[in-house]
């Protein structure tokens, strides 16, 4: 959505902005939802970087591959990937590291704000809040013990 708004602000057409938002935004949003499903299932730690890097390592290149292919199809061009499929995917995989770190920064700060608002009618959001609350409780217990020890 941000990409789309910036595009319009920068003088791009609404149609271009919409296409740009959809062809990259939708795959990333779907994979982001999968990330949350794994969090709920307890297969992914809350606020940890290494699992997020491992998660996005294959999926960010996949999202970009879909993005490039769809962009060419929508524009009516023949499909062309810079450096060939292997080179393209390897390049995207390396950049997925930055994407994953940025993702954790944003996810851990914005996610809880949204889930708190919708948890009453969204069981997944409620479970995610539970996961974060468990972690905060565990840390608080640790801090409490530390404070007792430090007098």
């Amino acid at each position: 959505m941000l990409i789309g708004l910036l595009s319009v602000a920068g003088g791009g057409s609404v149609g271009t902005a919409l296409v740009a938002t959809l062809i990259l935004g939708i795959p990333l949003a779907v994979f982001g939802a999968l990330y949350d499903v794994l969090l709920v299932a307890g297969r992914m730690g809350v606020g940890t970087i290494a699992p997020a890097v491992a998660f996005w390592l294959p999926l960010f290149p996949l999202a970009r591959l879909l993005n490039e292919v769809l962009a060419d199809v929508v524009a009516g061009n023949s499909i062309a990937l810079s450096g060939g499929v292997a080179g393209f995917l390897a390049y995207q995989a390396l950049l997925s590291l930055g994407f994953a770190i940025g993702w954790v920064f944003l996810h851990d700060q914005l996610g809880p704000l949204w889930w708190l608002r919708v948890r009453a009618h969204n069981p997944v959001a409620a479970l995610l809040i539970e996961r974060y609350a468990e972690r905060v409780d565990a840390l608080e217990r640790r801090r409490g013990r530390a404070r007792k020890r430090s007098g």
Binding site: L6, G12, L106, D108
Partner: protein, 526 residues
């Protein structure tokens, strides 16, 4: 919700009561003693730690370190300050001018800064005092040197204008209006905060997240494997000094870029204040700075820091935990994120220069026009990858300006209020939070006046002096770090040979290049 929030909101700033002496041992010699095991030795109160001629530090318990893996922490302040125009513009430009091999100097600069971060943290976490206080313990005029340098260098709002200029390119809103509103908003947000550190940590964490994620996506869209691999492999061409670099036109620019690789000027010194407010190590025993509207809730700030018992194995075990925690900050969050963002910007600039000769031409000029070059890069990205990408690029530059404004104004006010509160006679009549607010609003009001009526970077007559002071401060703080950590801390927690060597190299690196530039070319830094 963030795990980094590991300190108590109401730290116990008082020294714990002295345990009562064991009376049993005194009376047992008068009466007929029953057969009993000897009484344990009474716990001894440790004498305060004497460091320099200033007030000794009472001994208190070191809190236990949190898990080393974390996202938010005091390093987001350093990232907000450090990932600036050097990473987004100066280094990508040097790569285009001298080739990717020049990036070895960036690697050296950022790695040195990671060592500086670890050593700054050593003193701050061991004592809860800022490095300014540590400098005063060695020799008070050293601290005043930094006080004066900060006043001279950091009151100019130049960092705001670049970001506001990029925002003007996107929206058409005149840059001075955006900059003025931005400065006022920064002042209001900080003044309304209950605890300034907590609000800014979250806000800057969010902005850094957008920057890291966004630049990665844009680099993924416009760059190629070739751009990325040359940006990475270029970092390992140690000793690459092209002849064209050793000229009066370029050498000062390279020195400036080295000094601005990661946090520059006094930014690392301010990091010790952020560490303290985050509650890291003995900082947990010092109250936090509050926003102006909550200043009356501030607890009494002790007149000095504290030391922990370095003879106690349990305390030393906790100390090792804190060192692991800060090493994670230095390596992954600071070094890693700074590298990622710079590589992404280098890839973006390389792609733009490849597609448009005008970009190369603008970037290759020794007397560069930064604004025109950034606009040309944006235009090229717009035409090659879509308007979205070009606009996003300018959005990142605007974001960097906002990060720098938030981070710099907070850090400047923190540093000046710390030195004022502890070392200007009579200042302790006021609360630390009030002194902080006074510096904050003074620099905001001055900034608004200068942005609208004066030179944003400072008067041209003193620009060289300001550039000199900024780079000189980096060499000077390396010397101060060596003195403070090796003379003011107990032996068991002093730095080792590797750390001392790295910091000494830092002093030689910054001061040596600065002096060489002046002596050989008669120019300070570019």
């Amino acid at each position: 919700m963030d795990p980094a929030n590991f300190r108590s909101d109401r730290p116990d700033a008082a020294t714990p009561p002295v345990p009562p002496p064991d009376q049993a041992g005194l009376t047992s010699s008068v009466e007929e003693p029953p057969p009993a095991p000897p009484a344990p030795a009474p716990p001894e109160e440790k004498p305060p730690w004497r460091a320099g001629r200033l007030e000794p530090m009472p001994i208190k318990k070191l809190p236990k370190a949190p898990p080393s893996v974390h996202i938010l922490g005091p390093t987001v302040f350093l990232l907000a300050l450090g990932v600036g125009i050097g990473e987004s513009y100066q280094w990508p430009r040097l790569v285009l001018v001298f080739g990717p091999e020049i990036r070895w100097l960036f690697l050296v600069g950022v790695t040195l800064q990671a060592f500086v971060l670890l050593e700054m943290a050593r003193y701050a976490m061991a004592t809860g005092e800022s490095i300014f206080f540590g400098a005063a313990r060695v020799f008070k005029p050293l601290m005043w040197l930094f006080f004066v340098t900060a006043m001279a260098v950091y009151i100019w709002p130049g960092h705001v204008s670049a970001g506001a200029g990029a925002f003007e390119e996107i929206t058409g809103i005149p840059w001075n209006i955006t900059a003025t509103i931005g400065l006022l908003l920064v002042g209001v947000v900080i003044s309304m905060a209950k605890v300034i550190y907590s609000v800014l940590e979250k806000l800057l964490g969010l902005l850094i997240g957008v920057l890291v994620l966004g630049t990665s996506v844009v680099a993924a869209v416009v760059g190629s494997w070739g751009d990325l691999s040359s940006a990475i492999t270029g970092m390992f061409h140690f000793g690459y000094f092209p002849d064209s670099m050793m000229t009066a036109a370029w050498f000062p620019t390279v020195v400036g870029a080295c000094a601005f690789a990661g946090p520059s000027g006094m930014q690392q010194m301010w990091y010790t204040l952020h560490l303290r407010d985050s509650g890291a190590g003995m900082g947990a025993h010092i109250p936090r700075v509050r926003g102006l509207t909550h200043a009356t809730e501030e607890e009494t700030v002790p007149s000095r820091g504290f030391m922990f018992d370095t003879d106690d194995p349990e305390e030393m075990r906790k100390w090792k935990g804190w060192r692991t925690w800060i090493t994670f900050d230095a390596l992954l969050l600071f070094w890693g994120v700074t590298m990622l963002v710079t590589i992404a910007f280098t890839v973006i600039a390389s792609a733009a220069a490849r597609d448009n000769a005008q970009v190369s031409q603008l970037l290759l000029q020794a007397d560069d026009d930064q604004s025109a070059a950034l606009q040309a890069i944006s235009n090229t990205l717009s035409s090659s990858a879509g308007a979205v990408v070009g606009t996003l690029f300018l959005g990142f530059i605007a974001l960097i300006g906002l990060n720098a404004t938030l981070g710099l104004f907070d850090a400047f006010s923190r540093g000046q209020s710390d030195m004022t509160y502890f070392f200007i006679p009579g200042a302790r009549r006021f609360r630390m939070s009030h002194i902080y607010a006074a510096f904050l609003w003074a620099v905001i009001i001055f900034g608004i006046i200068i942005l609208n009526f004066g030179p944003a970077d400072g008067p041209s007559a003193v620009l060289d002096t300001l550039a000199f002071l900024s780079t000189f401060a980096m060499g000077a703080y390396c010397v101060v770090l060596l003195l403070v950590n090796n003379r003011m801390l107990p032996k068991p927690i002093r730095p080792g040979l590797l750390s001392n060597t790295a910091i000494a190299l830092g002093a030689v690196f910054y001061l040596g290049m600065l002096i060489f530039s002046i002596a050989r070319f008669g120019v300070v830094v570019g």
